[in-house]
Every structure is written in C-alpha cells, then in structure tokens.
C-alpha cells in the first residue's frame, strides 16, 4: 500500500469568481482518521466533492489511493465508501434493497451482495429492519444505513461529510462507536465536521479551514497545546467588555463569543482573585479543548 491514502497539493477551486478552496495542501496516511474542520462555507463539502472527482480543481494535484483524481477518479471510487452530508437513500426501497442496489453499482452480482447483507445489517444494528421501507426509519437509523451502504464495496477509504449533523446525542454516540470500530479494522477515514467533540474523539489528525485555506494542522492535542496551551475560564453574566478590561493583565488572551467570555489564563488563580465577590458572574474553569482552537482560528472570520 502506498504511504499516502489521500494527497492534496496546492488545490484551488472557485465558483463564479469566489475562491472556495485556496491553495490547499494536506496528506492523509493509510489507517488514519483525518478531520477537515471549519465553519459553514469554509469549503469542506467542495473538498470532498473534488476528492471523489465530482468537481474539478482549477489548479493543483489530487491523488487518492494511488491514482490521480479527477482523471482516474472512477478507479479511486471503487475503493471508497461515501457518507454524504444529506441522506440520499433510495426511498422507494427497503433497507435490504438499498444495499442490494448499491452493491450492484459496484459491479457485484446479486448473489455477492446478498451474501454480505447480513453482516452489514449487523454492523448498522438494523437486523430487525431489513424489510422496512427507508421512509419508516428514524434519522439515526437512516444514517446507519447510509454507513452500511458505504461499506458494501469493502472500501479502504471512507469519506464522511458531516456524518452526525442533525442526530440526537444517542444516535451520534452510536455512529462514533461504529466509526471507531472501522478505524480498528484499518480503514482510512476523512471526516468533515463542525462538531469539535466529534473531531477530538475520532481524529488522529485534523486541519482547520478558514476561507478554503488550511490555517492549522496537526494532532488534536498538539493543536490545543500549540494554539492555547493554558487553562480556560469561561465567564457567563456581566458585561463581557467591561470584564475583559478588568482581567486583561492576567490573561494570555481573551475571546468573546456571544454572551460568554473565554479567558485563556496561564495562572487562573489571579483571574479568579480579580473576580472574587462578583455574585452576578458564573465561572467555569476547565482544560483547553478543540473548540477553543476553533474559536481562536475562525473567530475573526465569523465576526465579519
């Protein structure tokens, strides 16, 4: 197996004069879970479309599973499973029929697909729903069926565009658990998301996208250390701007997001001391996480 599962080099894409992906470069190693993080409109979906050969880059090189894309995207897609952002299951069919029809798109015979269906249903916890129509399934079940469908061709690489958007917490945890079991089987996963918890739990490495550019890349914990590297105090209540001038001398950095003030403090006790006696405030001290990184790197973008 080649040492690079997915490689983007200087990839650029624009629509109607607006640059959506801007000189993007990254590589994904086999067996890795790589996250593409970014706010809405950062170019995440365009990147996955280019990876599958469904959109052509204006400049740059894309290699997926050893073949150049889009020129030979069909060969790459044979070994890729896709979980799209919006379910596109076939509503006319039952759960079983969806898997059957999709397997045949990969050139498998009816018999070959039927032999695989029981294990796919088991993987998706849908054994009891084999003959239910897709329209009867809950949102979480539909996502799991989409995931099972993406595995019908036994792909090396899974491409997931916001796989848990719109799911309740229980359904989301179930998907995460399934994805981890796929990683344990040696699959490579590319995941786009704007859920920081999802990225932190699943991704070996990730890159943060702002305006189609790669603004930071690395392991989640390395990124947190590098970008934040100290305790965080979240302060609710009060006037964030007045508070910010009060504690500024003791903070490495201050970020205001909505009604919450995020104080990045190497020595949190000094900040707490400053705010002692303020009954109107609620303080939460915690270790830094990926959301802080995200806010720091994309915050200014959102303010525009």
């Amino acid at each position: 197996m080649s040492s690079v599962a997915v490689g983007f080099a200087g990839v650029t894409k624009s629509y109607g004069g607006k640059t959506v992906v801007d000189g993007l470069s990254f590589t994904v190693a086999p067996g890795e879970c790589f996250g593409l993080l970014g706010p809405n409109g950062a170019g995440k979906s365009t990147i996955t479309r280019m990876l599958l050969g469904m959109a052509r880059p204006a400049a740059g090189e894309i290699t997926v599973l050893g073949v150049p894309v889009p020129a030979r995207a069909r060969l790459a897609r044979k070994r890729i499973g896709v979980v799209p952002q919006f379910d596109n299951l076939d509503l006319a069919f039952t759960v079983r029929e969806n898997l059957l029809v999709f397997g045949r798109y990969f050139g498998m015979s009816t018999r070959e697909v039927e032999a695989k269906i029981p294990s796919l249903l088991e993987f998706a916890n849908l054994e009891n729903k084999a003959d239910a129509r897709v329209a009867e399934l809950s949102g979480g079940m539909k996502r799991r069926l989409t995931l099972a469908r993406a595995l019908v061709n036994d792909p090396q690489l899974l491409v997931m565009d916001e796989p848990t958007t719109g799911l309740d917490p229980h359904a989301r945890h179930l998907i995460w658990e399934r994805l981890r079991s796929l990683l344990a089987r040696g699959k490579t996963i590319i995941l786009t998301t704007h859920f920081m918890e999802e990225a932190e739990r699943l991704c070996d490495r990730l890159c943060v996208l702002v305006g189609g550019r790669n603004v930071a890349e690395g392991r989640p914990h390395a990124l947190i250390d590098e970008q934040i590297g100290c305790q965080v105090i979240e302060i609710y209540g009060g006037n964030p701007h007045e508070l910010s001038s009060l504690i500024k001398p003791y903070a490495k950095r201050i970020e205001v997001s909505g009604e919450t003030l995020f104080c990045y403090a190497p020595d949190p006790e000094h900040v707490r001391l400053q705010l002692r006696g303020r009954e109107d405030l609620r303080l939460l001290q915690r270790p830094p996480n990926l959301e802080d990184v995200f806010l720091r790197l994309t915050g200014r973008e959102l303010e525009k």
Binding site: L52, G53, P70, R77, I80, D90, V101, G107, N153
Partner: protein
Amino acid sequence: MGEGYAAVLPANAWNWVAVWRRNLLAWKKVALVTILGNLADPIIYLFGLGFGLGMIVGRVDGTSYIAFLATGMVATSAMTAGTFETIYATFARMHTQRTWEAILCTQLTLGDIVLGELAWAATKACLAGIAIAVVAATLGYATWPAILYALPAIALTGLAFASLAMVVIALAPSHDYFVFYQTLVLTPMLLLCGAIFPATQLPDAVQQVGHFLPLAHSIDLIRPAMLGRPAGSVGLHIGALCAYAILPLFLSVVLFRRRLMR
C-alpha cells in the same frame, strides 16, 4: 479538456445495467398498475377515436381508420412513454431524489447512469407500444407476428425520444419547464408526422418539415410492419432514429457534466 470528458462517458459496455436493474426493481412494485394503465389508455382511445371518427372518415390510406390509427398510436405511445419516463421519473432521480448523486459516489460514471436511464425509458416505451399492439391484434387490426416485427422500431423510437428528453432535463431548472417541450415539440410532432391522419393532408412545405422529425421515421417503420406492407427506405429511417438517439446522448452527458460536476 479531452480527459475531462473521458471521465464522464460510459466506462464500459455493461455498467449501465445496474442502473437499469435499479429502475426495474422500483417498477416491479407498481407493475400491475402501470400495465393496466398501459392497456386501458389505448383501449379508450381506439374505441373512442376509432369508432367515433372512423365512422365519419371511413377508409384511410387503404385500410380502416381504426387500423391506421392503431399503428400511429403504437409509435406515439412509444414517443410519450420514452419522453415522460425521462422528464418526470429520471428528472426526479437526477434532481430532487438525489439518486444520481448517490450513484456518482460509486464506480459508475455519469455516462453509465445516462445510458442506464435511456435503456430503462426505452423499456417503458416498449411496454407501452406492445400494449397497444396487443390491443390492436386482439381486435383484429394487426397480426400477432407483426408485433414482433414492429418491436425493434418501437424500442428505437423510445430510445430516440428518451435521448432527446435527456437534453431537455439536463437544461431545465425545474419540472415547470417541461410543458414547453410537450406543447411546442411533442404535440406538433403528433400532428405533422401522420400519427392520427395521413401527413399528405398537410400543405407541401409542412410535409417537408415532417419528413425530418423522428416520429415520422418511427411511423414509417411501424405502420408497414403492423399492416403487413413492404416498407421503403428502412435503412434511412433506422439511421435517422439512431442519430436521434446517439447525438443527444452525448450532448446530454456534456450538459449534465456542466450541471452536476462543477
């Protein structure tokens, strides 16, 4: 640029079958209803127009009006079945239902999908055409083997009209636009090509236009086959229908690429 188009053309000669089988599986669930519709429609028309108008006009083109009309209706229904399957069902799969979007994530290319959809629309056209031919043969207005002779022409008609409709859906922003195609293209064709009355009734200049239309070629193949007459210029008619099937196929793939793979 050339390689960009190579990636969307049919990848091989059999990939499209998976798309055709998907549509077959969906159709099987409503097969009984559609077959009844395919049969009821021509029966109503043949009885209504055939007996009603037939009484007034008598013999046409050396045969009874109802037999004349039945042959025209076989061609026309292949045209409408091939067209409607494409502009309604295929358009929905391409646009609202996201079926194509899902298929494009597999090893199939855009060309494979279009080919599979065309083959399926032609299949529906055959079912519709055969239904009328069966009704006509049952009533004694055509011979049973004639259905067999007409079948290749019916299939080709369905393919040609599905292919033309494929260009229409590649361009239409929403299904509201299809009414233009129906009223400005299909309905005039019905009147210009000798489906319900002989085209010789029309002014010369109009007749000349009619000769170029795909439905005219289709009728010139199907009518002699069903009435047991020798057909003229068979090669020309088949060639013309093939051109109407193949050229729009490539055009539609180019247009779909522009629409779906930006």
